[in-house]
């Protein structure tokens, strides 16, 4: 599969990136090189293989149980401030680039 400039522009949009013209050129080149290697996966017949998204449902769990039952130990009561207290307002806003002391402040959301 070949990545084109159009693909890069489309994916940049999905990624909330803009990229300069120079960055886009380089991206076309790099993505094609990397995907060229990744295409070696096509050689493998995986029609009978179940996909694996993570390892934690397979190891270190009670294998006699199924599905989410294996993680029963990880569930907790659904109560206010279950594991830790929420951050005080001031601390939660301390790293914000812009706030009014109560809310995060952002540029105009609705564009005309």
């Amino acid at each position: 599969m070949n990545v084109t400039e159009k693909d890069v522009a489309y994916v940049a949009g999905l990624s909330n990136l803009e990229l300069t013209a120079e960055e886009r050129d380089r991206m076309v080149r790099d993505l094609n090189a990397i995907l060229g290697h990744i295409d070696t996966l096509e050689k493998l017949d995986t029609s009978k293989v179940e996909p694996m998204a993570q390892v934690s449902d397979r190891y270190g769990v009670d294998e006699s149980k199924q599905g989410s039952e294996r993680f029963a130990y990880a569930s907790r009561e659904d109560i206010l401030e279950g594991l830790r207290k929420s951050l005080p307002h001031e601390e939660a806003l301390a790293n914000a680039p812009d706030s009014d002391g109560i809310f995060f402040r952002v540029p105009k959301v609705i564009e005309r």
Binding site: M1, V3, D7, V8, V11, A12, L14, S15, N16, L17, E18, L19, T20, E23, R26, M27, D30, L31, A33, I34, L35, H37, I38, D39, T40, L41, E42, L44, T46, V49, E50, P51, M52, A53, Q54, V55, S56, R58, Y59, G60, V61, Y73, A74, R76, L83, R84, L87, E91, A92, A94, N95, A96, P97, D98, F104, V106, P107, K108, V109, E111
Partner: protein, 477 residues
Amino acid sequence: MDLNLLTIDGARNAVRDGRTTATALAHSFYAKIAQDDPKIGSYLTLARERGLAKAAEIDSLAARGETLPPLAGVPVGIKDVLVTRGVRTTAGSKILGNYVPPYDCTAVTRLEAAGAVVLGKMNCDEFAMGSSNENSAWKPVHNPRDLSRVPGGSSGGSAAAVAADLAVATLGTDTGGSIRQPASFCGVVGLKPTYGRVSRYGLIAFASSLDHIGPLTKTVKDAAIVLRTIAGRDPMDSTSAEVPVPDYVAELEKPVRSLKIGLAKEYLAEGLDPEVRRAVEDAVQSLSELGCEVVEISLPHTEYAIATYYIVATAEASSNLARFDGVRYGYRAENVRSLSEMYRRSRDLGFGAEVKRRIMLGTYALSAGYYDAYYLKAQKVRALLTRDFEEAFKKVDAIVTPTSPTAAFKLGDKTDDPLAMYLADIYTVTANLAGIPGISIPCGETKEKLPIGMQILGKHFDEATILRLAHAYEQAA
């Protein structure tokens, strides 16, 4: 007594016996950092106030004659992708240039509870993406063994600081080899535990199903001490496993005689530097002289590991890094007219080239029309790679491989060729995909006096066996 050369037990016992104080120890490390780190670049931020407060607390415990915890007064460094309350944490990125976290990473909390003194935050590749530390937005790290060479990555600062005696031990993170490969390049010990062994709470996520926290240390015993301290279930990370934590230090002394060691032919194939091959073969010979039985095994899907890894890792990264939007924390671009422009401009200016490349690759692999061909395919091959290990571990107790195909390369050597950089991760990414533990320990040098690392891989939650083998080899070498 040179305070900067002490191991964990050495430092703690010196404080306990009154031969030094935790405060003197911390000052001695800060002095050496001031003197040596300008040419190495391993620290991004010093945490003097926090470190010296902890040292004073340990000193007052010692003065009262109380029993000191296992890491009392031990100066440690923390990779900058692990959050520290009140201490700037950047993940090596401009987008978090001024970020001061409101909470602590669990692994750091546990180290400090055991008495460790946090000296500061270690340089790393931006968001832990890289194999040479050259992707740090702030400055590169130079390999203490040869300043013209890279320290490896992404935990390059963590490895270089231990090698240069600028910390007794450090924490790193490993998503595709980022603890083990820099340990190998710098000539120190680096351990990536089993997935779920150590809580990831407070680790700034790169790829959540592959990220691990682990120690970089001078000795195998020190790695065992740190692992014992940070391992175990944490309710703040639902993927931290409820598996009992053995006393890894006590386990070190068990005999290695008649343990079965696998040598995978796929890990000794083309692309492996002949000097690295010879050093690893010599190390295997030593293990065999210690009574281990060497068994040839096959991990047949190894050639697909890099392709699989760079799909899974970037797909997860593209999702995890969506949170950097310039709203709640981090860099925000100025002079923007709309919210969407603010997102794009903030991310454009805040992220470096490699991070953008991975976000793009991951987003592409997850996008409509390509999901099946890339992401789903990679998940299936991940299952095959994991099955390879399951089959192998029916026959052997551990697997020995080189950590990296070469010793440390020169700064600038691979920066223009991302694929070449990725391909060098071939021996380490498989353990992340399968979630098995791996340790890298020094096993000799090249003719140019560059360290070579041997990797020992183990079964899930069997860090004890790989630590035991590494310890036996280290003692014999």
